[in-house]
C-alpha cells in the first residue's frame, strides 16, 4: 500500500483518536452509553486498521500475538479479582459498596475495575481473532 498516501496519512491521523475515543467510551460508561465491551472493540479496531494499512508484520511488532493472548486471560482475572477483593473486605461477590468509605464511591471504583477487565479481555480476544484469520497460520500462545 506504499502508493496510497491518503490512506496512510488518514490512518495515522485517525488511530490516536480512535484509541482516545475507546478510553472515553470506557470511562464514560458509568454515566452514559458505553462500557468495557464497546471500548475493547473500538480499541482493537485501531489495531486492525493499522494492520490493514501498514501490514500485519508491523502490527505484530507493536503487539505480539503472545501479548494479545495474555490480555485475553488477564482481563478475566481482573474482573473476578475485583469480586475477590470485595469478598476479602467483608462484602459479597462484586458487592462494590465496600470498596470505599462512601458506598457510592465504592460502586464507582468497582464498576471501573470490572469494566477495565472487560476492556482488556475483549481487546485481546478481538486482536487474537484478527491475527488468527489474517495470518492464516497458528498464533503461538
Amino acid at each position: 500500500m506504499d502508493d496510497r498516501v491518503i490512506l496512510r496519512v488518514g490512518a495515522k491521523i485517525l488511530i490516536p483518536f480512535i484509541l482516545i475515543f475507546a478510553l472515553y467510551v470506557q470511562f464514560h460508561g458509568d454515566y452514559g452509553p458505553g462500557g468495557g465491551f464497546q471500548a475493547g472493540v473500538i480499541f482493537a479496531a485501531a489495531f486492525v486498521l493499522y494492520a490493514l494499512i501498514y501490514g500485519l508484520g508491523n502490527v505484530v511488532r507493536v503487539l505480539p500475538p503472545k501479548a494479545a493472548y495474555v490480555c485475553g486471560a488477564l482481563g478475566v482475572s481482573i474482573f473476578v479479582g475485583v469480586g475477590f477483593v470485595t469478598m476479602a473486605l467483608g462484602g459479597g461477590f462484586l458487592d462494590y459498596g465496600v470498596l470505599a468509605h462512601d458506598p457510592a464511591h465504592g460502586q464507582h471504583y468497582g464498576i471501573l475495575g470490572v469494566e477495565l477487565g472487560v476492556l482488556i479481555t475483549v481487546f485481546g480476544v478481538m486482536v487474537a481473532l484478527f491475527y488468527a484469520f489474517a495470518g492464516r497460520r497458528r498464533i503461538e500462545p
Binding site: 485475553g72 486471560a73 478475566v76 482475572s77 469478598m87 459479597g92 462484586l94 458487592d95 462494590y96 500462545p141
Partner: protein, 491 residues
Amino acid sequence: MSENLPALLIVVPLILAPVAALVGRRDLSWAVAAAACWWAFGAALALLRRVQAEGVIRYELGGWAPPIGIEYRVDLASAFVALIVATIGAVTVVYARTSIAQEITEDRAPLFYAAYILCLTGLMGIAITGDVFNVFVFLEISSLSAYALIALGHDRRALTAAYQYLIMGSVGATFIVIGIGLMYVMTGTLNMVDLAERLPAVADNRTIPVAFAFLTVGVTLKLALFPLHLWLPNAYTYAPSAVTAFMASTATKVSVYLLLRFFFTVFGFDFAWVGMELHRVLMPLSVVAILAMSLVAIYQTNVKRLLAFSSVAQIGYMMLGISFGSVLGVTAGILHLFNHALMKGALFMAMGCVMYRVGSVSTDRMAGLGKAMPWTMAAFVLAGLSLIGVPLTVGFVSKWYLVQAALEQGQWAVAGVVMVGSLMALVYIWKVVEVAYFGEPDPDHELREAPLGLLVPTWILVIASFWFGIDATTTAEVATAAAETLLRGLP
C-alpha cells in the same frame, strides 16, 4: 468466608481458568486445573451438607437484592447436581493428566485445561443459579468451552463433530433465550422464584405456552433427547478420551436438571403436566429413545460410538422417570442422573485406556484384550454390568425405582420397555466382552496394561458404582428429598 460459599464454588474455578491458560506449561496448567476441580469438589460437598442441615441457601450477587439482582439459589436438587459435576470433574482431571499428555500437544495443553475448568464452572453455575438469564450465560460458558474441548480431539473428524454440535447447540441456546425473553416480556422478571409467582396470572395468554414450547425444545436439544440427539454420537466418539468421559457424565445431566428446574420450579407441575400434558410428549419419545438407540448401539463397531448411542438410550430412562410426574418417577430420574454419571464415566474411561494403548476402540482391534489389559477390561465389564442393571450395582437401583414408578401408575408396558432396554444393553456390552475375552489376540502387537494414572480414576468410578449400588440409602434419600422439593414447587 463461609457465607460466600455459593459464589466461591463458581468464582474460584473461574479465576483459575485464565491462570491455567497463562502458566504456559502442561504440568503447571494441569496442577492449576486439578486445584480448581478439587476445590469445586470440596465446596460442592460442603454446600450439599449445609443445604441438608439448613435448607435452601440464597446468595445475592453484587449486593443487589433479588428479584432485581442475580441470586444463587441452592436447594437440594441443585446442590446434588453440582456435586455430581464436581465429583466427575475431580476424578476426570486426574485421568486427563496421562491421557491428555498423549493426545494434545504441549502448547495446546494450557488452553485445554483452561477450557476444561470453564466448562466445569459453567455446568456448576447452571446448577446453582436462581436467575433464568444467568442460566443462559452459564449454559453458553459451558457449551462454548465444550465445543473447543471436542474440537481438540486427535481425529480430524473431531472438527466436524464439534461444528455439528456448535450448530445444534446454538439452535438450542437460541430457543432457550427466546423462551426466557417471552417470559420476561409477560412478567418483567428473570428471577426463578419471582417468575413462578407471576406466571400463573398470565398463563392464559398464548405467549406463555409458546415460551414453554421454546424452552422445552431448546433444553431437550441440549440434553439430546431422541430425536434431537444427532450431535451427540459424533461429539462423544471423536472428542479426546478425558473429554468424552467428562461430558458424557455431566453435560447432558445438567441439561436434565435444567429441564426439571424449568418444568417444576418455574412453570410448576400444574401448568406443565396438567395444563400442557407434557407427559404425552416425553413418555413416547423416551420409550423410543430407549428401544431405538439401544438397537442402534448393538450394531456399532466403534465402542465409543456404541457407548454414545447407549447414552442417548440412558437419557431416555431419565426422561421416562421424569415424565411420570410422580415423586417416585422424578426420584428415579435424579438417581439415574448420578448413577449413570458413575457408570458411563467408568466405561468411557476404560475405552480411553484402550485408546491409549491400542490407538483405536474399534471392536476388530480389541480381540484378546482381556488377556493383554486385564484391569481395563475388568473395569469395562463391571461398569457394563451396572449399565445392564445387575443387582448390587447402581444401575439396578435406578431401574428398580423406575419400574416401581411405572407400576405405581399401572404402566405395565412401560415397565416392560425398561426390561427390554436392559436386555439390549446386555447384548451390546456382551458384544465387546466376547471380542475382548474370546477373540484371538493379534500376535504382531505386543500390548501392555494401561498406566496407573488412567486405571486408578477408572477404578474409583467402578468401585463407586458398586458402593452406591450396595448402599443406596444416601443417594436415594437425597434424590427423594430433591424430588419432593421439586414437585412441591416453591414455598
